[in-house]
């Protein structure tokens, strides 16, 4: 025997109410975690400020050009619910970039090129660089040591790690602050998803309640 329409509506309302309560509970838990992480981040920032100096960790240190490293994707999932996901761009440090480029260069040109070892000792570094440069730039006159060119790129590259704004050697506490805030950003996306879900469930519940009357 099937359920009557009233019973079906009641079951649906109960289900939605339970879902709503679950979502509210998850939201509260994530909020609590977010608050804790933010406080940790501030504490680490304060410790870094204590060791580096007041003005060294402030808005005065912000770069004049910034590129975001983290983006958020908002997409609709089942039942027209909205989901926020973060995606992070990985940054290669200049040394990694140099290592990667040299490893690629080592495979090919070493076997092809002719290297001169007759020159004086001060010029010994040049053949290595000439071989490396030839794969990127055929004219030897425009040769630049790869480490320097990559260093210039990273200086001009607005995608450089924000940690670099505060100096080359930063204390561990500043790195801890960065780590805390990165986790906060991930959690923010989850909380935004939950908030949207809570509001949607509320609307659906109220609609179902109206139709049942």
């Amino acid at each position: 025997m099937g359920l009557s329409k009233t019973e079906e509506t009641s079951l649906l309302l109960d289900e939605q109410l339970l879902q709503y309560m679950d979502q509210l509970e998850s939201l509260q838990e994530k909020r609590s975690a977010l608050n804790t992480l933010i406080e940790q981040g501030w504490f680490s920032l304060s410790k870094a400020r204590y060791s580096m100096g007041n003005k060294q960790v402030s808005s005065l240190q912000y770069a004049s050009e910034m590129e975001p490293q983290i983006f958020v994707q908002a997409r609709a999932v089942e039942n027209d619910a909205l989901e926020f996901c973060t995606e992070r761009i990985t940054i290669q440090s200049p040394t990694e970039r140099v290592q990667n480029t040299t490893s690629v260069e080592d495979i090919g040109p070493k076997e092809e090129g002719v290297r001169r070892r007759i020159k004086a000792s001060k010029d010994m570094a040049e053949p290595e660089e000439l071989v490396g440069a030839s794969t990127e730039n055929p004219s030897p006159t425009s040769t630049k040591p790869p480490s320097e060119s990559h260093r210039n790129n990273s200086d001009q590259n607005p995608q450089a790690d924000p940690l670099k704004w505060f100096g080359i050697l930063v204390p561990q506490t500043l790195k801890q602050a960065q780590s805390s805030f990165r986790q906060v950003i991930e959690l923010s996306a989850e909380i935004a998803t939950l908030q949207a879900a809570v509001l949607k469930t509320r609307e659906e519940f109220r609609l179902a309640l109206k139709l049942s009357c």
């Binding site: 709503y20 509210l24 509260q28 909020r31 977010l34 608050n35 933010i38 406080e39 981040g41 501030w42 920032l45 960790v57 402030s58 808005s59 912000y62 770069a63 004049s64 050009e65 910034m66 590129e67 975001p68 490293q69 983290i70 983006f71 958020v72 994707q73 908002a74 909205l82 926020f84 995606e87 992070r88 607005p158 924000p162 940690l163 500043l174 602050a177 960065q178 805390s180 805030f181 990165r182 906060v184 950003i185 923010s188 996306a189 909380i191 935004a192 908030q195 949207a196 809570v198 509001l199 509320r202 519940f205 109220r206 309640l209």
Partner: protein, 119 residues
């Protein structure tokens, strides 16, 4: 540019903005306006409200993070924002802990039942 996702904007005090920019959300270049606002003691409510509204109008911002004490200053503007995107998240500040009873989203969600529902 089209496939890269949306930005996270932040309106907060110096420590909050510094922390989130350290996390890597900041965008600032010659062509576009920044996606953050550092609120200081002399920042006017008008400026905060205009910045918030400008973030709402931009189609490349997915989430707006705002300190709750700043959100209180422009509560009417936040309550008036009913769209899902950008999502507005109120966060605590160093001097003002998070208060769930003041959060716009939770206040809307709290009104699950009205007196008429029980008649």
């Amino acid at each position: 540019m089209a496939g890269r996702g949306k930005l996270i904007a932040v309106i907060g005090d110096e420590d909050t903005c510094t922390g989130f920019l350290l996390g890597g959300i900041g965008e600032l270049n010659k062509n576009r306006k920044p996606n953050f606002l550092v609120v200081e003691k002399d920042t006017s409510i008008t400026e905060i409200e205009e910045t918030f509204k400008s973030f709402l109008v931009r189609n490349d911002i997915g989430i707006i993070l705002i300190n709750q004490f700043i959100a209180e200053m422009i509560r009417h503007a936040i309550d008036g924002h009913l769209e899902s995107i950008p999502a507005v998240l109120e966060i605590p500040s160093k001097e003002h802990p998070y208060d769930a009873s003041k959060d716009s989203i939770l206040r809307r969600a709290k009104g699950m039942f009205s007196a008429e529902d029980f008649r």
